[in-house]
Symmetry: C2
Amino acid sequence: MEKWRAADRLLKFSSSCKSKQGKYFYSVATTVHRNPLFSSISPDDISYFKTILGERGVVQDALALDAANTDWMGKYRGSSKLLLQPKNTEEVSQILKYCNSRCLAVVPQGGNTGLVGGSVPVFDEVIINVGLMRNILSFDKVIVSGVLVCEAGCILENLISFLDDEGFIMPLDLGAKGSCQIGGNVSTNAGGLRLLRYGSLHGSVLGLEAVLANGTVLDMLGTLRKDNTGYDLKHLFIGSEGSLGIVTKVSILTPPKLSSVNIAFLACEDYTSCQKLLLEAKKKLGGILSAFEFLDSDAMSLVLKHLDGVRNPLPPSIHNFYILIETTGSNETFDKENLEAFLLHSVESGLVANGVLAQDINQASSFWHIREGLPEALMKAGAVYKYDLSLPLEKMYDLVEEMRVQIGPAAKVVAYGHLGDGNLHLNISAPAYDDNILAKIEPFVYEWTSKNRGSISAEHGLGLMKAAKIHYSKSPETVRLMIDFDYCVFELLPDTSCLDDNHSIICLCLSA
Amino acid sequence: MEKWRAADRLLKFSSSCKSKQGKYFYSVATTVHRNPLFSSISPDDISYFKTILGERGVVQDALALDAANTDWMGKYRGSSKLLLQPKNTEEVSQILKYCNSRCLAVVPQGGNTGLVGGSVPVFDEVIINVGLMRNILSFDKVIVSGVLVCEAGCILENLISFLDDEGFIMPLDLGAKGSCQIGGNVSTNAGGLRLLRYGSLHGSVLGLEAVLANGTVLDMLGTLRKDNTGYDLKHLFIGSEGSLGIVTKVSILTPPKLSSVNIAFLACEDYTSCQKLLLEAKKKLGGILSAFEFLDSDAMSLVLKHLDGVRNPLPPSIHNFYILIETTGSNETFDKENLEAFLLHSVESGLVANGVLAQDINQASSFWHIREGLPEALMKAGAVYKYDLSLPLEKMYDLVEEMRVQIGPAAKVVAYGHLGDGNLHLNISAPAYDDNILAKIEPFVYEWTSKNRGSISAEHGLGLMKAAKIHYSKSPETVRLMIDFDYCVFELLPDTSCLDDNHSIICLCLSA
């Protein structure tokens, strides 16, 4: 996941929502048609929603709707006329039950920070945003397990702050933390910067409450580390992008905050050295390794050119690859010595060409800013085609190099990502959106990824952008089973499934 | 999960299969009836299986069938006349497709080390054991990710040995490692001794191949750390105890082996101190804490009485509680100093009454032997009623004390488990099985656990023992959804689902 803040987001809207290239991404990449089985909103519907939610919960204001209809990138845009803001699970249930009975399509929306067109309407779906459901329900620091239970609308950064005061941390952290909501994080199985250390949300989330399209409230809100009684259904909701139900509460295991954090910024001259360095780091830094991020020379050049106040951390030249290593442990002296010894050994063995250990919190922040500022730098540089891929580590950079040959001088190929997780953020940066460039990228990038048994979406999800492309990463039998889930178990309408080629992930509506 | 070895298992069979109490556990606890929709095996069926598997793969030998029909505890016993041993996925698929067309019930069996009657037939189901599918398919130490791909029949201990040579470890370890198979581990979501450090299999398993009841092979055998393309269906198979399909291949993320392992054995005088010690350990030992196990005084007395060669590690008296702490890190000197400082501080602050740090591998093994030898000691002591519960940590020992009051002098209540995971192994040890004792335990233990939002099966699964008791831990809506999965998506026959009160988890057969 990439970095931005609420303030940035509004800024971006004002420039890119106006769509300086004069079209939205999906107009090029995807053709979708509104499902005629869905109803349209009537005045009676509005009245009904007001009886459930009050005036404040029923938003029809043009400015607010414009923001809720448009994604952060300014690439996807719906035409919803109605944004609902429930205050509790019961209201979510009542909304969904009603929409289901009226056959009104809905789209669940969290912080609207997604990058694949999964959080905004495609047409006139009712937008349901749980942002008012932002209570922390319990936290049991006294009884040592560190389990946080909260409502789905809690903003990630607020949870991080809350836990910080309690001596704990969230097991996930990502650039969008200032806007994204924990319910959206869970629904999209957000990855981010701590996955290397704390694993995916499938490991950290202990329980969920979710509301199905027919209004049924599913209580899976366990707080236990271990529970082997029947199928662990919560996992279906983690990463299903709101297509099976709306997550309303989350129970999550949070690790204790450790006092010692150290950051190193290193340069490698070839990709093989980056891989070897990762293996060494896993072995030598063992339990304290908490991040292993990489960027290539084009990414560094882009940051230096477009982000204010960033200086080359390893001057004077630009190296081929950069690695950011973070360790988090409990012993300041030892951890620092350990990282220093690791760096020294890496330089002596030739894996690392140059490197620096952050001497204070400011320098540490400036190193992170280079890595986390990349999405912003890309936005400033012009049009950007973003791909979020998992690939076998040894093949990962081959794709970048082949893509450069494929595209030629028309655009820059910029690579960075969570190397420790095998997750490449491949960005093609061009002066303006151009169908000729897109035709050189797709389906090439998907076919290449599929051929190498990678995933076409490591952490961003499918959304509208890739719903029709699931076959590149999943077998036909698996996709068939997902569709059976949608139709048979969750009784969703045909053509409303995330897995259907003809529509997006975002519509929740049972068969009438 | 608890400890035993293949050799122990055979020993146990010879004594307890003869059922010295003259009855099997389920005769008391559960009443089940054979589903009349199932066919019985005919000579034509045998001939067909021989054409698929050859003579060797079709086992009708009485001795082999007796072992495969009886569980390790000698409490559950089926009457199957046929054990099939496929050599590859295609054979598993052909078997299931045929059984499905003939409406023959099947039970998948791994190492048959389960404790809840989930791995043996209830009636005359065809037993399918994938023990001949024991190839390691790939391991990519060269390309740093540590992903192991293997067939489901690989014995856990063999995988541990294989990885040891490569400088890696399995993210799970459990007492049954000498017999249990990785496919069974995954199907039962085995927990064990490393969960505290490496999390559950939902986090470690990257991919699966499974065969559905109709013979469809589901390829979910990804090797990627991150893949957000559609529903993550593999999670349904992890912990579904073979009820949705037979796992045939597993892809699992293995951590690098760290060089420094330290063990401490401590005594606490009250349960509150045990909890506080856990919180301190999580904070002070941070990333190197790899096990936090506990046993109470009754457990220690039992081990000292029944296990050969075990001596009191903290003589002369017996303390109320014992804690085994293991750290695993990359720096011998620092890790040891860290643990020593932690122990010193814990003694000084009064949390720990006494303690010792293992001085060599033999002493470390002897400490582990106390904890891991408990199941064996219990078996030697007589009849044992075993419960595997997850409970909120602060409530956990209340149950033990209330159970002692409830049972009175008729039996001993012995408590131990994975305190770091909130997992209590509650054992009631009596001279002989006795319905009066059982009536004092159940439903009390389940009701108490349910009332405190615990799980009636932390890591052992439901099996025949607890299939009908799922409602104690899961909401009606959730159970309803599981049943919908069985019937609608996987098209299993009514009365063959793990979630149906009338039968066990073990039958795989589509509607005819």
